[in-house]
Amino acid sequence: GDKVKQSPSALSLQEGTNSALRCNFSIAATTVQWFLQNPRGSLINLFYLVPGTKENGRLKSAFDSKESYSTLHIRDAQLEDSGTYFCAAERDSNYQLIWGSGTKLIIKP
């Protein structure tokens, strides 16, 4: 089965609303990264997480290694937040990432 499972697979939101994306891990993840792939295809690093939380503007992410999940919260969604969000987990601190299949997020005006 999927070692890194993302949910939902797709999400459509009105501008100005909030959302929560989730990754569940069936591996012993040591760190987690969240990326946004924008509509042009570029991959942008959003967060690098050890267990704990980080916040950057309207984005907030948490990683709970004991419960094996990570979340990404988007507050006050804007049109430019549209794209596909990926989480990727590092196992055993060997720098190799295992990727989820992504959440496609569409923000509507």
């Binding site: 295809g41 570029s42 690093n45 990727a88 590092e90 601190s93 720098y95 990727w99 299949s101």
Partner: protein, 113 residues
């Protein structure tokens, strides 16, 4: 800001031909990676490198070779391209010092006919 440059941006190759995808990073990062991205999948690791002269197999290395002649350059080589290798390929670099944020190139779209 990290700079990772891939070339070419688009490539059409014929079955059985040789394809070389190039990646250059200007950040003096130790680690470099090659991924492919297909619809319905996250990124899958093909090969990676810990530094000049080093190449390691990732999760899906079959049909691919890699070369790291210098700190800055990391190439992915398809000796005998097949249609199943049609995909978007991403190169990434990372510091490799324990806390590693990855920086990605813009991708290469490869079509094998």
């Amino acid at each position: 800001e990290a700079a990772v440059t891939q070339s070419p941006r688009n490539k059409v190759a014929v079955t059985g031909g040789k394809v070389t995808l190039s990646c250059n990073q200007t950040n003096n990062h130790n680690n470099m990676y090659w991924y492919r991205q297909d619809t319905g999948h996250g990124l899958r690791l093909i090969h990676y490198s810990y530094g000049a002269g080093s190449t390691e197999k990732g999760d899906i290395p079959d049909g691919y070779k890699a070369s790291r002649p210098s700190q800055e350059n990391f190439s992915l080589i398809l000796e005998l391209a097949t249609p199943s290798q049609t995909s978007v390929y991403f190169c990434a670099s990372g510091e490799g010092l324990g806390v590693e944020t990855l920086y990605f190139g813009s991708g290469t779209r490869l079509t094998v006919l």
